[in-house]
């Protein structure tokens, strides 16, 4: 379906192009606040870069904690492994699993980032398994999640996905590894969870927000992306009764700071 009378013009990039990961980083950084205590997880190059970029641009007091417990690693070189020991050099503190445990039990963190093997329309995250049959092993076993609890206690959740396909974006996850809005509506609150849950989801094609029923809807489509493609590659229905907004392309300043301060070795531009 072609639907959605979206401006066809799409992206004029500012500094001869940018990678999908750079765009996602910039978009995510704009959502972060100076008061945030942010914790990142596995395979989280984009969220880490976004936190470091936000610190440089508008959120100088943001605290970034890596899943290894490293507090406020310095900007400069992005390491692809979430727990890379080289993040320690120049960081402000080195915590332990016990520090992360304290953080989850006391709900100290304000924003957590999750990707998923599956993400559903209510923002639930599956990293555990798909093809579950009672009494049988799963058809596909994922990595699992170290911090299920962070989805419960974190002030808000920002979802992201390196890819955008019907395999990832499904109507309902096979297993709720990290609680999003569960069955939508008030079901998260009804389950006794008092935090905001997912507030947006950033993909290479769009930024999703959540409507009143806590269903994912396109908040803005990225420059150069065909809305029909978004609909075709999303495994749940999207509202197309009014034109989608266009994501603001990265500004010259955002890209400049990203490339010269946060990611000097160009990891976000690398193809793999």
């Amino acid at each position: 379906m072609s639907s959605a009378a979206v401006p066809e013009t799409a992206g004029k990039s500012i500094v001869d192009g940018y990678s999908a990961q750079e765009l996602m980083t910039v978009v995510m950084a704009r959502e972060l606040r100076s008061s945030d205590l942010a914790v990142t997880g596995a395979s989280s190059l984009v969220p880490v870069a976004a936190c470091l970029l936000a610190q440089q641009l508008h959120a100088p007091d943001l605290t970034l904690i890596l899943p290894s417990g490293v507090v406020n690693p310095p900007p400069g070189r992005l390491y692809r492994s979430a727990s890379d020991g080289r993040w320690v050099t120049g960081a402000e503190a080195v915590g332990t699993a016990y520090d992360l445990f304290e953080m989850s039990e006391n709900g100290r963190l304000s924003v957590m980032f999750y990707g998923g093997v599956q993400l559903d329309r209510h923002g639930n995250v599956n990293l555990t398994a798909t093809g579950l049959r009672p009494g049988e092993p799963p058809r596909f076993r994922g990595p699992g999640l170290a911090n299920t609890s962070f989805a419960v206690v974190s002030g808000r959740i920002i979802l992201f996905s390196a890819g955008h396909s019907r395999r990832t974006f499904v109507e309902k996850v096979d297993y709720v590894t990290a609680a999003g809005h569960l069955d939508g509506g008030t079901s998260r609150r009804d389950a006794g969870i008092t935090t905001d849950g997912p507030v947006l989801c950033i993909t290479p094609l769009v930024t999703f927000g959540f409507d009143d029923e806590k269903c994912m809807q396109v908040r803005s489509v990225h420059p150069g992306v065909d809305p029909a493609d978004v609909v075709a590659r999303t495994g749940f229905p999207l509202r197309t009764d009014h034109p989608w907004q266009l994501t603001d392309a990265p500004t010259e300043t955002e890209l400049h700071v990203l490339r010269t301060v946060v990611d000097r070795t160009g990891e976000l531009r690398a193809t793999t």
Binding site: A97, P143, L145, V152, R188
Partner: protein
């Protein structure tokens, strides 16, 4: 001659060294044991120890690992020596899924106990506190509360029924750190993560380190001792003993080697033929292993090539 007379001549009794050879330490792992694996993801995996444990032929191990785990846990599963795993997350991080963990789970060959950091840490906290269980409130509303044996519920004043992971007391833990003296004073250069908790909760504590330092070096900076010697039973000198994982502060993970592991891991047969046999079973000599992965010349320069 009395003991008093002996000391009066200035001859104090010798303090006992905890240094043991790699194979001797590996032999401490008995069949059926619950073994804790230290480090996290690609950091501080007790890799040399785990390879040596596999070579002993021990079977039927239960494994608990830091909530994010990787190579060492996947290697044990692939070698067929594990019957149950308590590991919240097992992956090769940005490089991909853990092939043997995935395969064993999909075949139903290993009991993968659903858990997360809160449930594993809760169990360790209970052991630290010498209590039967340690309630955790943070997993309320998640599927874990319905599916995990670690999430049995108990009433807590003012909170109603709360998930309460039972005490987790490993029979033995295998850790890797950067430095220790011969008395088992352990120094981590980066995050110790779960290692101190494993050391406090395990019946036997075995630590490999890249290098042994003098006791005087430890005493010069006592605040740098992360796990004091009274908690430690055995220290193994294992230069590059975390490889292909990283030893925080000394060398990063070896991405080329890990990718070769993953590539071999596409089928169980391939992995056994191209990884388990050549890198573990047929390579018992540590110096031989080190030479085969490029030696210090290559490993000391990984920072230049690993992104």
């Amino acid at each position: 001659m009395t003991a008093a007379a002996g000391t009066s001549r200035g001859r104090s009794p010798a303090r006992t060294s905890k240094l043991v050879p790699l194979e001797e330490a590996a032999a401490l792992v008995r069949p059926g044991a619950l073994v804790a694996i230290g480090g996290l993801w690609f950091q501080n995996n007790p890799s040399a120890l785990v390879r040596a444990v596999i070579r002993t032929g021990v079977r039927d191990l239960q494994v608990v690992a830091a909530p994010p785990s990787s190579y060492a846990v996947d290697l044990l599963i692939g070698a067929g020596v594990v019957s149950r795993v308590y590991a919240a997350h097992v992956s090769f991080d940005h490089l991909g899924l853990a092939p043997n963990h995935r395969r064993a789970a999909e075949a139903g060959e290993v009991d993968i106990v659903e858990c997360d950091e809160a449930t594993v840490l809760g169990g360790l906290m209970a052991a630290v506190e010498a209590l039967p269980h340690h309630p955790v409130t943070s997993i309320a509303g998640t599927e874990l509360t319905r599916t995990s044996s670690l999430a049995a519920r108990t009433p807590v004043d003012g909170l109603g029924e709360v998930a309460a992971p039972p005490a987790m007391r490993p029979d033995l833990c295998l850790l890797h750190a950067q430095e220790a003296d011969q008395y088992g004073n352990i120094r981590h250069f980066g995050t110790p993560f779960c290692d101190p908790l494993f050391a406090k909760t395990s019946g036997t504590v075995v630590v490999s380190v890249d290098r042994i330092v003098d006791n005087a070096t430890v005493r010069a900076e006592p605040h740098r001792t992360v796990i004091p010697g009274y908690l430690v039973d055995a220290v193994v000198e294992a230069p590059y003993g975390a490889h292909p994982a990283a030893s925080q502060g000394l060398y990063p993970h070896d991405e080329e080697h890990l990718n070769a592991y993953l590539s071999a891991g596409r089928t169980a047969e391939d992995w056994r033929a191209r990884y388990l046999r050549p890198w573990v079973l047929d390579r018992p000599d540590s110096a031989d292993y080190l030479a085969a992965v490029g030696g210090p010349d290559r490993l000391d320069r990984l920072d230049e090539v690993v992104a």
